[in-house]
Symmetry: C2
Subunit: 118 residues, 2 copies
């Protein structure tokens, strides 16, 4: 019943979203593909947008979450750091715990919603 | 530390947001002012936008959350229903419980964020 719209958690850095649902997905895409451009393509996101998200993360956290290999940002490959794994894990735990904490009230509120095909 | 960006809860009705942070604020504005247009003005929102949000709520829930007095939607005044009070109360409880559930992990993640003026 919970989906990515139902409960959104964000780690803020001032007005910047340091970490949130889109950034988790991007990190996992970079981990899978070893490349920011491939991860962006998989997400139907422009390379420019993916690069901005990476910069927002890297400049918000005390250490980078994504490292790019020398030889050019676009072609040289990228990997996620140990800190990225730590952040992803904690973020997922927050999501699970928050979903558990609201489950009963959300089920009650859903029971008040009309059942249609929307 | 938690703000409205950190944790967002939404009750979905298919792809429509039946209830969420903006709709809570609108209901409270209508309760305070007795009018959709006054509530919209207080929120720097167009009357048209406020009216759409009210329609989304009223058509998502089995019974209306906002009732408008006869004599014209714009001029006739509006009030929130008993169901609206129930929904607001549950929604706030979800928010509080979710914030408690993530507080420790969020504090940990915030501790990894660089301290700057952003």
């Amino acid at each position: 019943m919970m989906n990515s719209k139902t409960l959104r958690l964000r780690v803020m850095h001032g007005d910047t979203i340091a970490f949130g649902p889109g950034k988790v997905d991007l990190l996992l895409g970079i981990e899978r593909s070893g490349s920011i451009s491939a991860a962006a393509r998989d997400m139907d996101m422009s390379y420019r947008r993916a690069w901005i998200l990476v910069q927002e993360m890297n400049s918000s956290f005390a250490q980078p979450l994504v490292e790019t290999a020398t030889g050019g940002a676009r072609g040289g490959g990228a990997r996620i750091t140990e800190l990225a794994h730590t952040v992803i894990e904690r973020y997922r735990r927050m999501q699970i715990n928050a979903e558990k904490a609201v489950a009963d009230d959300m089920a009650f509120l859903q029971s008040l919603i009309v059942v249609t095909s929307n």
